[in-house]
Symmetry: C2
Subunit: 140 residues, 2 copies
Amino acid sequence: MSHQFHHSAEDLIRHNGGKVTAGRVGILAVLLAEQQAITHREIEQRLPQTLQLDRVTLYRVLEWLAGKNLIHKVSSDDRVWRYHANRDVSSHQHAHFKCTGCAQVICLETLPVERNWQLPAGYRFQEIELTVKGLCASCC
Amino acid sequence: MSHQFHHSAEDLIRHNGGKVTAGRVGILAVLLAEQQAITHREIEQRLPQTLQLDRVTLYRVLEWLAGKNLIHKVSSDDRVWRYHANRDVSSHQHAHFKCTGCAQVICLETLPVERNWQLPAGYRFQEIELTVKGLCASCC
DNA sequence: AGATAAATGCAACAATGTTGCACTCATTGT
DNA sequence: ACAATGAGTGCAACATTGTTGCATTTATCT
Ligand SMILES: [Mn+2]
Ligand SMILES: [Mn+2]
Ligand SMILES: [Zn+2]
Ligand SMILES: [Zn+2]
Protein backbone atom coordinates (compact mmCIF):
# COMPACT_ATOMS: atom_id res chain seq x y z
CA MET A 1 0.00 0.00 0.00
CA SER A 2 1.67 3.17 -1.19
CA HIS A 3 1.94 6.33 0.87
CA GLN A 4 0.34 8.09 -2.06
CA PHE A 5 -3.07 6.56 -1.51
CA HIS A 6 -2.86 6.87 2.23
CA HIS A 7 -2.23 10.58 1.89
CA SER A 8 -4.96 11.10 -0.71
CA ALA A 9 -7.40 9.22 1.46
CA GLU A 10 -6.61 11.35 4.48
CA ASP A 11 -7.08 14.47 2.40
CA LEU A 12 -10.39 13.39 0.90
CA ILE A 13 -11.79 12.50 4.29
CA ARG A 14 -10.70 15.72 5.93
CA HIS A 15 -12.14 17.81 3.11
CA ASN A 16 -15.46 16.09 3.58
CA GLY A 17 -15.74 17.17 7.17
CA GLY A 18 -15.31 13.79 8.80
CA LYS A 19 -13.02 12.67 11.56
CA VAL A 20 -9.77 11.38 10.16
CA THR A 21 -9.54 7.97 11.75
CA ALA A 22 -7.16 5.14 11.00
CA GLY A 23 -10.05 2.96 9.85
CA ARG A 24 -11.44 5.43 7.35
CA VAL A 25 -8.07 6.31 5.94
CA GLY A 26 -6.99 2.68 5.67
CA ILE A 27 -10.17 1.57 3.98
CA LEU A 28 -10.28 4.43 1.50
CA ALA A 29 -6.59 3.94 0.73
CA VAL A 30 -7.29 0.28 -0.06
CA LEU A 31 -10.08 1.27 -2.40
CA LEU A 32 -8.02 3.96 -4.09
CA ALA A 33 -5.27 1.44 -4.74
CA GLU A 34 -7.66 -1.05 -6.27
CA GLN A 35 -8.79 -1.16 -9.90
CA GLN A 36 -11.72 -3.47 -9.36
CA ALA A 37 -14.78 -3.18 -7.22
CA ILE A 38 -14.07 -5.34 -4.19
CA THR A 39 -16.08 -6.88 -1.40
CA HIS A 40 -16.14 -6.30 2.30
CA ARG A 41 -14.00 -9.40 2.73
CA GLU A 42 -11.46 -8.38 0.17
CA ILE A 43 -11.12 -4.98 1.78
CA GLU A 44 -10.52 -6.63 5.14
CA GLN A 45 -7.80 -8.79 3.66
CA ARG A 46 -6.02 -5.85 2.09
CA LEU A 47 -5.95 -3.79 5.25
CA PRO A 48 -2.56 -3.70 7.00
CA GLN A 49 -2.14 -6.21 9.83
CA THR A 50 -1.69 -3.33 12.24
CA LEU A 51 -5.20 -2.14 11.44
CA GLN A 52 -7.77 -4.64 12.63
CA LEU A 53 -11.29 -3.33 12.39
CA ASP A 54 -14.57 -4.73 13.53
CA ARG A 55 -16.84 -5.88 10.72
CA VAL A 56 -19.48 -3.42 11.81
CA THR A 57 -17.06 -0.53 11.67
CA LEU A 58 -16.02 -1.56 8.19
CA TYR A 59 -19.63 -1.51 7.05
CA ARG A 60 -20.25 1.83 8.69
CA VAL A 61 -17.16 3.40 7.19
CA LEU A 62 -18.14 2.15 3.75
CA GLU A 63 -21.61 3.59 4.20
CA TRP A 64 -20.09 6.90 5.25
CA LEU A 65 -17.71 6.99 2.30
CA ALA A 66 -20.54 6.21 -0.09
CA GLY A 67 -22.66 8.94 1.47
CA LYS A 68 -19.83 11.40 0.84
CA ASN A 69 -19.57 10.20 -2.74
CA LEU A 70 -16.00 9.11 -2.29
CA ILE A 71 -16.89 5.55 -3.25
CA HIS A 72 -19.85 3.77 -4.82
CA LYS A 73 -21.49 0.45 -4.16
CA VAL A 74 -22.02 -2.15 -6.84
CA SER A 75 -24.72 -4.76 -6.41
CA SER A 76 -24.31 -8.24 -7.78
CA ASP A 77 -26.26 -11.46 -8.17
CA ASP A 78 -24.18 -13.10 -5.46
CA ARG A 79 -25.82 -10.88 -2.85
CA VAL A 80 -22.54 -9.23 -1.95
CA TRP A 81 -21.90 -5.52 -2.25
CA ARG A 82 -18.70 -4.44 -3.87
CA TYR A 83 -17.10 -1.08 -3.39
CA HIS A 84 -15.03 1.09 -5.67
CA ALA A 85 -13.38 4.48 -5.27
CA ASN A 86 -15.03 7.19 -7.31
CA ARG A 87 -12.94 8.61 -10.09
CA ASP A 88 -13.93 10.65 -13.11
CA VAL A 89 -15.52 7.62 -14.69
CA SER A 90 -17.65 6.68 -11.75
CA SER A 91 -19.09 10.12 -11.18
CA HIS A 92 -21.59 9.46 -13.93
CA GLN A 93 -23.70 6.39 -14.60
CA HIS A 94 -21.70 3.45 -15.85
CA ALA A 95 -22.05 -0.24 -16.39
CA HIS A 96 -20.15 -3.05 -14.69
CA PHE A 97 -18.59 -6.24 -15.89
CA LYS A 98 -18.66 -9.37 -13.79
CA CYS A 99 -16.62 -12.44 -14.57
CA THR A 100 -18.70 -15.58 -14.20
CA GLY A 101 -15.52 -17.50 -13.52
CA CYS A 102 -13.73 -15.65 -10.74
CA ALA A 103 -16.46 -13.17 -9.75
CA GLN A 104 -14.26 -10.12 -10.23
CA VAL A 105 -16.12 -6.92 -10.96
CA ILE A 106 -14.78 -3.98 -12.93
CA CYS A 107 -16.36 -0.68 -13.89
CA LEU A 108 -16.92 -0.06 -17.57
CA GLU A 109 -16.44 3.37 -19.03
CA THR A 110 -19.64 3.71 -20.94
CA LEU A 111 -23.35 3.04 -20.64
CA PRO A 112 -24.48 2.89 -24.26
CA VAL A 113 -28.13 2.32 -23.60
CA GLU A 114 -31.14 4.22 -24.74
CA ARG A 115 -32.69 6.37 -22.10
CA ASN A 116 -36.21 6.40 -23.51
CA TRP A 117 -37.45 3.08 -22.27
CA GLN A 118 -40.87 1.81 -23.15
CA LEU A 119 -42.13 1.64 -19.62
CA PRO A 120 -45.76 0.86 -18.80
CA ALA A 121 -48.03 3.88 -18.67
CA GLY A 122 -47.56 5.95 -15.54
CA TYR A 123 -44.15 4.57 -14.73
CA ARG A 124 -41.29 6.98 -14.22
CA PHE A 125 -37.71 6.29 -15.20
CA GLN A 126 -34.96 6.94 -12.68
CA GLU A 127 -31.79 5.06 -13.53
CA ILE A 128 -30.31 2.03 -15.16
CA GLU A 129 -28.29 -0.71 -13.53
CA LEU A 130 -26.43 -2.79 -16.05
CA THR A 131 -24.04 -5.66 -15.59
CA VAL A 132 -22.30 -7.35 -18.47
CA LYS A 133 -21.40 -10.90 -17.64
CA GLY A 134 -18.68 -12.91 -19.26
CA LEU A 135 -15.17 -14.20 -18.71
CA CYS A 136 -12.19 -12.07 -17.82
CA ALA A 137 -8.83 -12.50 -19.53
CA SER A 138 -7.56 -14.88 -16.84
CA CYS A 139 -10.65 -17.05 -16.94
CA CYS A 140 -11.02 -17.28 -20.73
CA MET B 1 -56.27 -18.92 -7.61
CA SER B 2 -57.98 -20.17 -10.72
CA HIS B 3 -58.29 -23.81 -11.71
CA GLN B 4 -56.82 -22.80 -15.02
CA PHE B 5 -53.36 -22.18 -13.64
CA HIS B 6 -53.49 -25.20 -11.37
CA HIS B 7 -54.19 -27.41 -14.34
CA SER B 8 -51.54 -25.79 -16.54
CA ALA B 9 -49.02 -26.16 -13.78
CA GLU B 10 -49.78 -29.84 -13.34
CA ASP B 11 -49.39 -30.36 -17.06
CA LEU B 12 -46.12 -28.50 -17.33
CA ILE B 13 -44.62 -30.44 -14.46
CA ARG B 14 -45.72 -33.81 -15.76
CA HIS B 15 -44.37 -33.06 -19.21
CA ASN B 16 -41.00 -32.26 -17.71
CA GLY B 17 -40.66 -35.66 -16.15
CA GLY B 18 -41.00 -34.67 -12.52
CA LYS B 19 -43.21 -36.00 -9.80
CA VAL B 20 -46.48 -34.11 -9.67
CA THR B 21 -46.59 -33.02 -6.05
CA ALA B 22 -48.92 -30.58 -4.37
CA GLY B 23 -46.06 -28.28 -3.60
CA ARG B 24 -44.74 -28.03 -7.14
CA VAL B 25 -48.17 -27.57 -8.63
CA GLY B 26 -49.19 -24.96 -6.08
CA ILE B 27 -46.02 -22.94 -6.47
CA LEU B 28 -46.03 -22.99 -10.25
CA ALA B 29 -49.72 -22.10 -10.28
CA VAL B 30 -48.98 -19.08 -8.09
CA LEU B 31 -46.26 -17.97 -10.47
CA LEU B 32 -48.42 -18.51 -13.53
CA ALA B 33 -51.14 -16.37 -11.98
CA GLU B 34 -48.74 -13.56 -11.23
CA GLN B 35 -47.68 -10.77 -13.56
CA GLN B 36 -44.73 -9.62 -11.56
CA ALA B 37 -41.61 -11.39 -10.46
CA ILE B 38 -42.19 -12.21 -6.81
CA THR B 39 -40.10 -13.27 -3.87
CA HIS B 40 -39.94 -16.42 -1.86
CA ARG B 41 -42.02 -14.71 0.84
CA GLU B 42 -44.66 -13.49 -1.57
CA ILE B 43 -45.02 -16.94 -3.04
CA GLU B 44 -45.51 -18.38 0.44
CA GLN B 45 -48.22 -15.85 1.16
CA ARG B 46 -50.08 -16.63 -2.04
CA LEU B 47 -50.13 -20.38 -1.47
CA PRO B 48 -53.47 -21.76 -0.28
CA GLN B 49 -53.77 -22.20 3.48
CA THR B 50 -54.22 -25.91 2.96
CA LEU B 51 -50.77 -26.09 1.44
CA GLN B 52 -48.10 -25.28 4.01
CA LEU B 53 -44.64 -25.95 2.75
CA ASP B 54 -41.30 -25.86 4.45
CA ARG B 55 -39.08 -22.98 3.42
CA VAL B 56 -36.44 -25.39 2.21
CA THR B 57 -38.91 -27.23 0.01
CA LEU B 58 -40.01 -23.96 -1.50
CA TYR B 59 -36.43 -23.11 -2.39
CA ARG B 60 -35.84 -26.55 -3.81
CA VAL B 61 -39.00 -26.48 -5.90
CA LEU B 62 -38.07 -23.10 -7.28
CA GLU B 63 -34.63 -24.38 -8.15
CA TRP B 64 -36.17 -27.35 -9.91
CA LEU B 65 -38.64 -25.23 -11.85
CA ALA B 66 -35.84 -22.90 -12.93
CA GLY B 67 -33.74 -25.88 -14.01
CA LYS B 68 -36.64 -27.06 -16.18
CA ASN B 69 -36.95 -23.57 -17.63
CA LEU B 70 -40.49 -23.20 -16.41
CA ILE B 71 -39.55 -20.11 -14.43
CA HIS B 72 -36.61 -17.76 -14.22
CA LYS B 73 -34.88 -16.03 -11.35
CA VAL B 74 -34.37 -12.30 -11.20
CA SER B 75 -31.62 -10.88 -9.05
CA SER B 76 -32.00 -7.57 -7.32
CA ASP B 77 -30.02 -5.12 -5.25
CA ASP B 78 -31.99 -6.06 -2.12
CA ARG B 79 -30.34 -9.50 -2.10
CA VAL B 80 -33.63 -11.26 -2.66
CA TRP B 81 -34.32 -13.50 -5.62
CA ARG B 82 -37.57 -13.02 -7.42
CA TYR B 83 -39.23 -15.62 -9.55
CA HIS B 84 -41.38 -15.37 -12.63
CA ALA B 85 -43.07 -17.92 -14.86
CA ASN B 86 -41.52 -18.21 -18.30
CA ARG B 87 -43.70 -17.03 -21.14
CA ASP B 88 -42.81 -16.13 -24.69
CA VAL B 89 -41.22 -12.94 -23.49
CA SER B 90 -39.01 -14.51 -20.93
CA SER B 91 -37.61 -17.19 -23.18
CA HIS B 92 -35.16 -14.66 -24.57
CA GLN B 93 -33.01 -12.12 -22.77
CA HIS B 94 -35.02 -9.28 -21.34
CA ALA B 95 -34.62 -6.41 -18.94
CA HIS B 96 -36.43 -5.83 -15.68
CA PHE B 97 -37.97 -2.84 -14.02
CA LYS B 98 -37.79 -2.35 -10.29
CA CYS B 99 -39.81 0.25 -8.43
CA THR B 100 -37.66 2.08 -5.92
CA GLY B 101 -40.80 2.82 -3.92
CA CYS B 102 -42.53 -0.51 -3.42
CA ALA B 103 -39.82 -2.88 -4.70
CA GLN B 104 -42.08 -4.55 -7.24
CA VAL B 105 -40.29 -6.10 -10.18
CA ILE B 106 -41.72 -6.59 -13.64
CA CYS B 107 -40.23 -8.04 -16.78
CA LEU B 108 -39.77 -5.69 -19.72
CA GLU B 109 -40.34 -6.87 -23.24
CA THR B 110 -37.21 -5.63 -24.86
CA LEU B 111 -33.49 -5.39 -24.25
CA PRO B 112 -32.45 -2.56 -26.57
CA VAL B 113 -28.75 -2.67 -25.81
CA GLU B 114 -25.80 -3.04 -28.07
CA ARG B 115 -24.21 -6.44 -27.99
CA ASN B 116 -20.75 -5.36 -29.03
CA TRP B 117 -19.42 -4.05 -25.78
CA GLN B 118 -16.02 -2.49 -25.53
CA LEU B 119 -14.65 -4.97 -23.08
CA PRO B 120 -10.99 -5.00 -22.04
CA ALA B 121 -8.74 -7.07 -24.28
CA GLY B 122 -9.13 -10.80 -23.76
CA TYR B 123 -12.51 -10.53 -22.08
CA ARG B 124 -15.38 -12.56 -23.46
CA PHE B 125 -19.00 -11.43 -23.51
CA GLN B 126 -21.69 -13.79 -22.25
CA GLU B 127 -24.84 -11.93 -21.30
CA ILE B 128 -26.35 -8.73 -20.07
CA GLU B 129 -28.28 -8.17 -16.88
CA LEU B 130 -30.18 -4.92 -16.93
CA THR B 131 -32.52 -3.39 -14.41
CA VAL B 132 -34.32 -0.15 -15.02
CA LYS B 133 -35.14 1.58 -11.78
CA GLY B 134 -37.89 4.10 -11.25
CA LEU B 135 -41.35 4.51 -9.82
CA CYS B 136 -44.33 2.40 -10.73
CA ALA B 137 -47.73 3.91 -11.44
CA SER B 138 -48.91 3.47 -7.86
CA CYS B 139 -45.77 5.01 -6.37
CA CYS B 140 -45.51 8.00 -8.73
C1' DA C 1 -5.84 19.54 29.43
C1' DG C 2 -10.89 19.12 29.30
C1' DA C 3 -15.28 19.02 26.89
C1' DT C 4 -17.87 17.13 23.25
C1' DA C 5 -19.68 14.78 19.54
C1' DA C 6 -18.38 11.45 16.47
C1' DA C 7 -16.59 6.95 15.75
C1' DT C 8 -15.80 2.31 17.34
C1' DG C 9 -16.33 -2.49 19.42
C1' DC C 10 -19.16 -5.90 21.06
C1' DA C 11 -23.16 -8.66 21.41
C1' DA C 12 -27.25 -9.69 19.63
C1' DC C 13 -30.27 -9.89 15.92
C1' DA C 14 -32.41 -10.41 11.10
C1' DA C 15 -32.89 -12.11 6.51
C1' DT C 16 -31.86 -15.14 2.92
C1' DG C 17 -30.38 -19.19 1.49
C1' DT C 18 -27.96 -24.03 1.86
C1' DT C 19 -26.78 -28.84 3.52
C1' DG C 20 -27.33 -33.48 5.60
C1' DC C 21 -30.22 -36.91 6.83
C1' DA C 22 -34.22 -39.43 8.05
C1' DC C 23 -38.83 -40.02 6.51
C1' DT C 24 -42.84 -39.76 3.22
C1' DC C 25 -45.26 -40.48 -0.70
C1' DA C 26 -46.05 -40.37 -6.02
C1' DT C 27 -45.22 -43.48 -9.45
C1' DT C 28 -44.41 -47.90 -11.47
C1' DG C 29 -44.81 -52.74 -12.04
C1' DT C 30 -47.02 -56.88 -10.49
C1' DA D 1 -55.09 -53.36 -4.93
C1' DC D 2 -50.45 -53.89 -3.17
C1' DA D 3 -45.44 -53.49 -2.65
C1' DA D 4 -41.11 -51.61 -4.06
C1' DT D 5 -38.52 -47.71 -5.16
C1' DG D 6 -36.46 -43.45 -5.49
C1' DA D 7 -37.68 -38.75 -5.90
C1' DG D 8 -39.34 -35.27 -2.93
C1' DT D 9 -40.00 -33.39 1.69
C1' DG D 10 -39.42 -31.68 6.63
C1' DC D 11 -36.51 -30.63 10.20
C1' DA D 12 -32.47 -29.08 12.42
C1' DA D 13 -28.43 -27.04 11.90
C1' DC D 14 -25.42 -24.09 9.54
C1' DA D 15 -23.39 -20.15 6.53
C1' DT D 16 -23.18 -15.58 4.91
C1' DT D 17 -24.17 -10.86 4.69
C1' DG D 18 -25.63 -7.13 6.78
C1' DT D 19 -27.97 -4.24 10.73
C1' DT D 20 -29.08 -2.29 15.47
C1' DG D 21 -28.45 -0.79 20.34
C1' DC D 22 -25.54 0.63 23.63
C1' DA D 23 -21.43 1.36 26.28
C1' DT D 24 -16.72 2.91 25.50
C1' DT D 25 -13.11 5.26 23.11
C1' DT D 26 -11.02 8.92 20.54
C1' DA D 27 -10.37 12.87 17.18
C1' DT D 28 -11.12 17.50 17.28
C1' DC D 29 -12.06 22.04 19.17
C1' DT D 30 -11.53 25.43 22.63
MN1 LIG E 1 -18.67 1.20 -10.73
MN1 LIG F 1 -37.89 -11.64 -16.19
ZN1 LIG G 1 -12.40 -14.14 -14.15
ZN1 LIG H 1 -43.99 1.00 -6.80
